[in-house]
């Protein structure tokens, strides 16, 4: 059969077809790739450029729209404020409020009936208020900076002191909520007027979200009313006032120049001191009563109104923002990137509003401030590339160009954010292209393989036939047109092969067969020297086969001879080996017997050990009993000691009592001695009296003498008794000391005894452990003895097995004798075949046979061993 897989490997015989096949596959692959890629690339490029353009245009339009909306919102805001200032300035309420406040402001001091001393103390208290509450709030908002209080308080007029005292310092509301007070606790008509107008103006201020509304006396420059009651209230805005140079003062002066109430002056945002340096814008308009300019109304606008408009960032994505920049190049609102900006000390309260550390000076800003509008890519204040739309915003229009206020409005968004969808599209297309390439490669490879497999099969078959193998057929692998071609080729080959054979050769074959038959008959008789003749005809092949057979037969017989010889020799060798083996096994049997005797001896020794350990256990138990007896004896000793101690103490007490008794006796004896002494004196005097009596007293003198003698003896006796008692007392005290020593001895004796008891207890526990140990040793030796017995039995078994082995070896020797006899018989039976003297024509064949004999013989030897 043909081998299609072999042809696949590209052997050199199929070179012609291989070229054709390879080129088909390559063409298929390249063609499919081209078809897949060209339109895809074209489409991708178109989509990419279009999307980029659309995104850019859309963003540009969006920015422009937002910018314009914000600009118009800001302009409307300020226009509305200007209109409100103007209309309020013209309203009758404000006109009457100004004139009333003007009048009552000047009479306030007289109405309160204040003297200069009292005013001085009010000024002092006001100074304290400036230095504490105002300064604390100011420092809190301005990172610890403090205002110069003296500069603020000293220029205040007496009216200002009075007003600020009542409406600011004595105002019960906290800082920032001072506007809530409608009337101060004083007697002035100013307070009556204040109560009348303040709620109205405060409502107005709240409605328009202003930070303050102020009314100023046009003539004196005094701030006669301030809605929020900040510290510019009641001060003079003329040259000597503390706030004359502030934005408020400037607004007042502007309003003095205005011709009518519609002519509103606007002052751009600036930090205002009394508002704790928060940015403030001032709108001012003059107030006319009929045609007399009586005052000025000022609106203070907080910047958060502007900031609220600009910080609404709807439609500006992640990085877009709108910024208002004044002609001073400072921001009017907060940057959304404030946290990312480098920090500096003057950045107030986390704000970029009017922050001089952040000047926005770019060509875009300049262009907007110059009045131009546009959209372009630009670097912003952070150094980031942005798409920026700019335009100017007119905050205040004026005929006078100098007082006109214009801001630059910048709406911008980061280039990166604008390009983000385009970039993402680019990467998505790259991924799709990679995926498509893989799919096209895999599918076209599969298709090409399917096509070329069938052509390979056909080409392999044709190749075989070309080499003369007409049996070769092509494998039908597909059902398409190529499969049909393979089937047709196979059918053609089948038809051609059957036509090759002819009938003419049959007779020749018959003759050759006859001749061959005769030659084979000779060989059959056992003569292996003969060979069949090899001819050209049909039987030639058969003859050759027969010769081959004879040759093989010869080889077998020769091998048989050699093998039998080898077997005989080997049997002899085996005989020797088995003899040796049987001798060895007998020796082994002897050794085993000796070993088992040794093991039995060991077992008996172990039993001896076991008996000895049992004796040890008995001894240990005895030791334990002795220790227990010892402990009991010690306990008895200790009890005895205790009894002795008690007895000794009892004795000591008795002896002490005896000492005390002898003391009493001593006292009695002393008394006796005293009596004896007195008796002696009496006797002496008696003697004297007797002597004086002369002869009549002679007898009495003798008695007196005897009495004296007795008294003397009694005295002597009492002295002896005294010394005896002293001796007794000394001895009793010695006895007591001795008793105490005895008690201590007894105590230490019982301590020693208890130590002995403890030691005996330890001996007891140790001998208990010892007994347990010996017990376990006994148990182990008993087990060892059992094991030794088991071992001895095993050795006996091994001994019997060895004996059996020796017997088996003897049997094997007998069998091998038989084998030798059998091989002899075999040799004689083979001798019937005759073999040629010389070796057959092919030496190669002979060598082959001899090679065979060697390994077979050695194999038999191995098996016997």
């Amino acid at each position: 059969m043909s081998q299609p897989s072999g042809a696949w490997d590209g052997q050199d015989q199929s070179g012609l077809f291989r070229n054709i096949r390879t080129s088909i596959r390559r063409k298929l692959l390249l063609g499919m790739l081209a078809v897949a890629f060209v339109p895809m690339l074209a489409m991708a490029a178109t989509v990419y450029w279009n999307v980029e353009r659309v995104v850019f245009n859309k963003t540009t339009d969006q920015l422009a729209a937002i910018r314009s909306v914000k600009a118009s919102q800001i302009e409307q805001l300020f226009q509305a404020l200007e209109a409100e200032v103007a209309s309020l300035a013209e309203s009758q309420t404000v006109v009457s409020a100004v004139s009333e406040f003007q009048r009552s402001f000047r009479t306030a001091i007289d109405e309160n009936d204040l003297k200069s001393q009292e005013l001085q103390s009010l000024r002092g208290e006001l100074h304290t208020f400036y230095a504490t509450e105002f300064t604390e709030e100011y420092s809190r908002i301005n990172n610890g900076r403090a205002p110069n209080v003296d500069l603020l308080v000293d220029p205040l007029s007496d009216e200002a002191v009075l007003m600020q005292y009542h409406y600011v310092r004595n105002n019960p509301n906290p800082i920032g909520k001072k506007a809530l007070l409608d009337r101060a606790a004083d007697q002035s008509s100013y307070s009556d007027q204040h109560e009348k107008y303040h709620p109205l103006l405060r409502g107005f201020m709240d409605r328009f979200r202003l930070s303050n509304i102020l009314l100023i006396d046009a003539e004196t420059g005094d701030v006669i009313y301030s809605c929020s009651k900040e510290l510019d209230f009641a001060t003079s805005l003329k040259n000597n006032g503390p706030h004359a140079k502030s934005g408020l003062g400037f607004a007042y002066k502007q309003a003095l120049l205005a011709e009518n109430s519609d002519d509103v002056s606007v002052l751009d945002f600036k930090p205002h001191q009394t508002s704790y340096e928060q940015p403030a814008m001032f709108l001012s308009a003059p107030v006319f009563d009929t045609s007399k300019r009586i005052g000025v109304i000022v609106f203070q606008v907080p910047i958060n109104q502007v900031a609220a408009i600009l910080e609404d960032r709807t439609g500006l994505g992640e990085t877009g923002e709108t910024l208002a920049v004044g002609s001073d190049h400072l921001l009017r609102n907060n940057s959304r990137f404030f946290k990312e900006l480098p920090k500096s000390d003057t950045l107030q309260q986390g704000s970029t509003i009017l922050n001089s550390d952040l000047r926005v000076e770019s060509t875009v800003t300049d262009s907007a401030l110059a009045g131009d509008t546009g959209i372009n890519a630009a670097t912003d204040y952070r150094g980031t590339m942005t798409l920026t739309a700019w335009q100017p915003v007119t905050v205040h229009k004026s005929e006078d160009k100098k007082s006109e206020i214009t801001w630059a409005l910048l709406t911008k968004i980061d280039q990166a954010e604008v390009r983000d969808p385009v970039t993402r599209l680019f990467f998505a297309m790259l991924a799709i292209a990679a995926l498509a390439t893989i799919v096209v490669l895999v599918s076209s490879y599969a298709m090409a393989s399917n096509l070329t497999r069938q052509t390979d099969s056909i080409s392999g078959m044709l190749n075989q036939i070309g080499m003369g193998d007409f049996e070769a057929r092509a494998e039908v692998l597909s059902e398409d047109e190529l499969g049909t071609v393979a089937m047709s080729l196979n059918a053609m080959c089948d038809n051609t092969l059957s036509l090759i054979q002819t009938r003419e050769e049959r007779d020749r074959i018959q003759l050759a067969v006859q001749k061959l038959k005769e030659e084979v008959a000779i060989i059959a008789s056992g003569d292996l020297t003969q060979e069949a003749e090899v001819t050209e005809d049909v039987t030639g092949g058969i003859a050759e086969s027969i010769n081959h057979m004879i040759f093989q037969l010869r080889t077998i017989i020769t091998n048989l001879h050699e093998t039998v010889n080898q077997v005989t020799i080997s049997a002899g060798e085996i005989q020797k080996t088995t003899d040796h083996l049987s001798a060895g096994s007998e020796q082994q049997s002897r050794q085993i017997t000796e070993t088992s005797a040794a093991i039995e001896e060991m077992a008996s020794s172990i039993q001896q050990v076991s008996q000895n350990t049992q004796k040890s256990a008995t001894v240990a138990n005895k030791a334990r009993e002795n220790a227990e007896q010892g402990t009991r004896a010690v306990q008895n000793t200790m009890d005895g000691m205790d009894r002795i101690r008690d007895q000794v103490q009892e004795n000591a007490k008795r002896i002490k009592r005896l000492g005390e008794s002898s003391q009493e006796v001593g006292e009695i004896v002393q008394l006796i001695g005293d009596i004896a002494d007195r008796t002696s004196i009496l006797a002496l005097n008696a003697s004297i009296q007797a002597a004086m009596a002369g002869d009549a007293g002679k007898g009495f003198a003798v008695v007196a003498e005897e009495v004296e003698l007795l008294a003397e003896r009694a005295n002597h006796a009492t002295k002896q008794i005294e010394s005896l008692i002293k001796a007794i007392q000394r001895e009793t005290s010695e006895a007591i000391t001795a008793m105490e020593v005895c008690t201590q001895e007894v105590v230490s004796g019982s301590k020693l005894a208890s130590e002995a008891g403890y030691t005996l207890g330890e001996i007891d526990s140790v001998s208990k452990e010892l007994a347990e140990l010996i017990e376990s040793i006994t148990e182990m030796t008993r087990q060892q003895a059992q094991t030794a017995e088991v071992l001895a039995e095993s050795m006996n078994e091994i001994s019997s097995v060895t004996r059996e082995t020796a017997l088996g070896t003897k049997h094997a020797a007998l069998s091998i004798d038989n084998l030798a006899e059998l091989s002899d018989a075999l040799q004689s039976s083979v001798a019937a075949f005759r073999l040629p003297r010389s070796k057959p024509r092919s030496s190669l064949v002979f060598d082959h046979s001899s090679e065979h004999t060697g390994p077979v013989g050695s194999l038999i030897l191995k098996a016997l061993k």
């Binding site: 002898s662 004196i681 003697s687 002597a691 003397e712 003896r713 002597h716 006796a717």
Partner: protein
């Protein structure tokens, strides 16, 4: 009751009672007349006439030296009474005391005779003496009164051995008794001594 039975009886008594019995025996022994008692007198048996009243003397001790004064000059012997000290008087005049209503001057004889003071004695006594003629009574403080002893005038020995100082002038003589010398004082000389007389005149 023989000795053995008595001993048994004593042994059976309690210790305090035993002591009392022993004490009684001790007193009895000391009062029994001994072999060495030279006077040989028995208790309660007066033997008049053995010693002349005139020759009787009161013997006392001043710092281990025995002195004697005639019994005729002694009014009485007392324990040292409470003495009221007087101002501006010599050391030997201890003061005055109340003697049954009479004021009695008390003289420390040891100081008067310039004898060193012995250790404070429990047996200190006051001997009240009087001169034979003038009926002047004075209390003498002495260390101890030994008793009344009879002294024969023949026993008196001269005092020529003693130095002829003020002390010598008070001594009438010296006798030897039981290996001991006893100085016999002449009370009249002592009481009429310049020291006492000067004091007496002054007072």
């Amino acid at each position: 009751m023989n000795g053995t039975e008595r001993d048994h009886a004593i042994d059976s008594l309690p210790s305090a009672a035993k002591f009392a019995v022993n004490l009684a025996e001790l007193i009895a022994q000391s009062t029994k007349p001994t072999a060495g008692d030279t006077r040989g007198s028995a208790v309660g048996v007066p033997q008049p006439g053995t010693v002349n009243n005139r020759n009787k003397h009161v013997v006392f001790v001043l710092n281990a030296t025995h002195y004697a004064v005639p019994l005729a000059n002694v009014l009485e012997i007392q324990r040292v009474p409470q003495i009221t000290a007087l101002p501006h008087v010599p050391d030997w005049l201890r003061g005055v005391t109340n003697m049954r209503g009479d004021v009695l001057s008390v003289v420390d004889l040891r100081m008067l005779l310039k004898i060193e003071l012995a250790e404070c004695s429990q047996d200190e006594r006051m001997v009240v003496v009087k001169s034979t003629k003038e009926e002047l009574a004075i209390g003498w403080i002495v260390d101890r009164v030994v008793g009344i002893r009879g002294i024969e005038p023949s026993e008196l020995k001269s005092t020529s051995l003693l130095p002829a100082d003020s002390m010598a002038s008070f001594i009438a003589g010296i006798i030897q008794r039981d290996d001991r010398l006893i100085a016999v004082l002449d009370v009249n000389r002592v009481l009429s001594s310049p020291e006492l007389r000067q004091f007496e005149l002054a007072s």
